[in-house]
Structure formats: C-alpha cells, structure tokens
C-alpha cells in the first residue's frame, strides 16, 4: 500500500474515494486537487431542484469542510493539475508546484460539449451546464429571459426545459436525432415525455438540425435546417459531455473516449487509477463509460479497495434518475441494443414502466412514478433470472412477489 494517494478532480468520485479510504483504515496521505472553488458537490440537482431555487448550496456539498480536515484529507480547491510525470511520479500544478504520489487517481469528470463557434457558439447567452457556477449564472439568466431554446433532448436538456417552463419561460427543445432520448430510452418512454412536455406548453422539434444560431453579440434565435427561425433570448446546449482526459493523453496513458482501465479500474500505468465520468472500463463483456452518480460511487469504492491491496473487480450496475414537471423516473440497466419491449401501465396511466429485453434477457427498466417497477427490475437484471413477460405486462400482477422471489432464501 502506497503512503500517498493523490486524487485529481474534487467531485463525486474523490469525495467518495477519500472517505472510503479513511473508513477502511488507510492512514497514509490523501491529497485532493480540484480546479473548482467549491467543496465537492452533487451535480444532479443543478438541472433540477437547485436551479429551481428549492435547494441551497450547502445541501449540495457531499461533505462539510470539517470532514476533510478531521479526516486529514488535504483538499486543495481552486487548484488545477496541469501535468503528470509518470517516470518520477509527480503531479505538476499550475504555478509549478509538484506533488509526489504513490497512487494517483484520475477523477476529472467530463465537460459539457459546446456548440461550434462557427455556428454561433460564442454568442452571448449561449450556455452549457456542468458546474454550480454555471447553474448560478444560468439561474440569473433564466429569471430575466422570456424565451429559451434548448439544444438537445437528452435528460439534462429535458430537465432544463422543465425548469425553464416552471419559471414561466417560453421553451422550445430541438433535437437533431429522430426523437428525444434517442440514445438512452426507447420509443415508449420518449413518447411519454414528449406528451408531458407538450402538455406543459413546451414545443418539441425532433429530427431537425440547427443550421446556426443567430444574433449580433447576443443570441437572438436559431435557424433550423428547414429554414424556420426560432426566436429566443437564451440558448442552453445540452448535447452531451466529453470525458476530461487531457492529462492522461499527455502522460501517454491509454485513452479511448475515456481513460481506459482494466476491470480493477487501473489504467495502463499500474499506480494510476481512473474512475467516474472520465473512465472507460474494459471488462470481459466489452468496454463501458458511464456518466452517473451511482457509477462514480461504485468505481470510487473499487479503487479504494484496490489501493488498499484488494482485488475488487468493478461490475457495472447502471442506474439513473430524472425529474421533469414533477414526474419521477428511475432507470435500471442500459436499454441500448434492446430487441423487444414490454409496457406495463396502470389503467389511469399514473404509473408506467417500460421493460427492455435483448435476446430474451431483461436488460433495462424505465420506471415512471413507479419505484416498485424500478426495484423489481433492478433485482431481476442483477439476478439474470428468466422474466415472465406476460406477468410483467399485466398491471394487476404484484411485482413485489417477483422481485422477492429472486432474493436468497433465508434459512432459519
């Protein structure tokens, strides 16, 4: 076990990892380098409750400041790592200080993909959302704008549309792919959210690219590929995130849309680990890069165990959630590549869930206002058990029985 762990990036991964190392008795040095000026915080509320003003900054912090000092975690905020020198095992900081490490963890997250400058991306009031400071300035902008264009109908874009509408703005969402949520959910779920947004007065344009953003200085609108011009005084670009891998690339580590690691979250350098949004894990089933809190926590715990000398393999257990117009959806698994779906819906439509199968195996569940379906789905996916599709499609069948049947029997 090395005597000094240095973590680059002060977000979800590093807060979990540092706490876990201490909880498991690691007594060497821990230094966390973070380029934002805030204590590590949760990002999900940035496009939900926090942006609506329903949650305070202090509630976003993953731990209070005192936690780090008490646990002797050297948390350096406003501090950017600019290079890794793997030969001598040091991290170079802006300002030229160097910090030696025995284990280095890359937890640099990802950055919002921006709109091309040549297509109007540098106009004022064209924004992205990744950090709390983005959210704070967006919050002000939302309170003075009248109409907003959201580019991209993924979860973050749709959550932002919902917040903006709640705040009274006229909202248009433009999605270049054939439909909203195209990469992350099936048609049934997309239809549900399309209907929901339209019912709240939001215009959704699908299968339509944007030729360019218009305006002189400040954004005034967007010209679509069919020539239509949509006027707006604020644009939010929600077209995905790019893993922050510059340090790893410059250090010569293997990178492929994410810092590549083995199933123990170890990079191509044996004392450098990567976890969270920036990491792509290679497992026997293929390689995977996820952007979610649950994944960041799982990988951080894997790295902690392995730095402590363990041999813990990471097993993806993707899950996600979203809230739009007061509707809650929990998602278990990944639906990409499904070849069949089963829809389960109460007669009044208040709850519904979409169950995704690939070659007869359950791979994902989108559960709308239905925690039972989420939990049952998660257990069934984990267990790999055969799933009775007819039973699932029948809303009066009690899912709790199904999920319980997969729990190990407790013998007395």
């Amino acid at each position: 076990m090395g005597r000094k762990v240095v973590i680059v990036g002060a977000g979800q991964v590093s807060a979990t990892l540092a706490a876990k190392l201490r909880a498991d008795g690691y007594d060497g040095g821990i230094t966390v380098l973070g380029d934002e000026n805030t204590l590590p915080y949760q990002r999900p509320p940035l496009s939900k409750a926090y942006l609506l003003g329903k949650q305070a900054m202090a509630q976003l912090h993953l731990r209070p400041a005192a936690f780090y000092s008490q646990a002797q975690i050297d948390l350096r905020l406003g501090c950017r790592a600019i290079a890794i020198e793997t030969g001598v095992r040091v991290v170079r900081l802006q300002g030229d200080e160097v910090i030696p490490y025995d284990h280095l963890v890359l937890a640099t997250g990802s950055a919002a993909r921006s709109w091309p400058a040549a297509l109007g991306g540098t106009l004022e009031e064209v924004r992205t959302l990744r950090t709390v400071s983005d959210a704070d300035s967006l919050s002000l902008a939302l309170r003075s704008a009248g109409s907003i264009l959201v580019i991209g109908g993924g979860y973050v874009g749709l959550e932002l549309a919902s917040v903006a509408r709640t705040l009274g703005l006229a909202v248009t969402v433009v999605e270049a792919q054939k439909r909203i949520l195209n990469r992350v959910a099936g048609e049934d779920t997309a239809r549900y959210f399309r209907t929901l947004h339209v019912a709240h007065g939001i215009r959704i344009v699908e299968g339509m690219g944007i030729r360019r953003l218009l305006g002189g200085g400040r954004v005034e609108g967007a010209e679509l590929e069919n020539g239509e011009v949509i006027a707006c005084d604020l644009v939010i670009v929600g077209i995905g995130a790019i893993p922050s891998t510059a340090l790893a690339v410059a250090a010569g580590l293997e990178v492929d849309d994410g810092v590549v690691t083995d199933e123990f979250c170890r990079t191509s350098d044996p004392v450098i680990w990567a976890a969270g949004d920036c990491a792509r894990v290679r497992t026997s089933a293929g390689s995977i890069r996820l952007e979610s809190v649950g994944n960041a926590i799982d990988q951080a715990e894997t790295v902690a165990a392995n730095i402590m000398g363990g041999e813990r393999a990471y097993r993806p257990r993707p899950w996600f959630w979203t809230e739009q117009h007061g509707v809650r959806m929990q998602i278990a698994g990944l639906s990409a590549g499904h070849d069949e779906t089963v829809l389960r819906r109460t007669s009044d439509g208040s709850r519904s869930s979409c169950w995704y199968f690939r070659k007869d195996n359950l791979i994902a569940v989108d559960a709308i206002n239905d925690a039972q379906a989420f939990l049952a789905g998660r257990r069934l996916i984990d267990s790999g058990m055969d799933v009775d599709r007819a039973a699932i499609g029948n809303p009066s069948f009690d899912l709790r029985n199904l999920a319980k049947a997969t729990l190990p029997e407790i013998s007395s």
Binding site: A49, Q59, L62, R63, Q70, G294, Q330, A371, Q372, L375
Partner: protein, 107 residues
C-alpha cells in the same frame, strides 16, 4: 439545535446536532456517520439512506409516503417496521434526541 443519536454497526453511538428542516440523512453525512450512502442526495430515488428508527420515536415522525413505502422494499438490509429513508425524515424540535440505527449495508 436538534440532536440525533446514530448507532452504527460496531455498536458505537455518534451524536450529532442539526437544525430545523435538515434531514437525518444530511446530518449523518455532515457529521461523518458511516454507513449512509445517499446516492441520490435526498431525492427519494435510491434507498441507500435507510435507517431504523428507535420504536419510541416512530410516532413522532410523519408517516411514510406511498413512494417512500415502495422504495423501502428495495433497501439492502431487511426492511423492518421501523425502517425509514433518512432523507425523508426532516428534523424539528419534537425530534430532539432522536435515536436511529444505521443498518449493516445499504446494498
């Protein structure tokens, strides 16, 4: 100031103070109480903030909502009659001295 006593798995008790409106999950997190994960940060989505409330205190806490009730079926440690999601218990003066036990695992 409202005090909450957390009994963790090794039997030790951590006492922490919070303020009106804070949740039991937030107090645990802010005071380094081990064993509460809170993946969703209090959005009632993850069921990894499970606690057992000392029976004497149960009656003073507003009853479980339908959503919490369903989510409690998905806790890692067995659900008991006194199981609650820590993020759904908001503190107020009548809960000063509240005692909860943190389960062995949240998964």
């Amino acid at each position: 100031m409202i005090q909450v006593h957390f009994t963790t798995q090794d039997g030790s008790v951590t006492s922490a103070v919070g303020t009106d409106g804070e949740s039991v999950m937030e107090i645990a997190r802010n005071n380094g109480v081990h064993g509460i994960v809170a993946e969703c940060g209090g959005a009632a989505m993850c069921a990894t903030c499970h606690v057992y409330v000392s029976p004497g205190w149960l009656a003073r806490i507003p009853p479980v909502s339908e959503f919490e009730d369903e989510l409690l079926e998905g806790t890692g440690a067995p659900r008991m009659e006194n199981s609650r999601l820590g993020c759904q218990i908001k503190l107020n003066d009548t809960l000063d001295g509240l005692e909860v036990t943190v389960p062995a695992s949240q998964y």
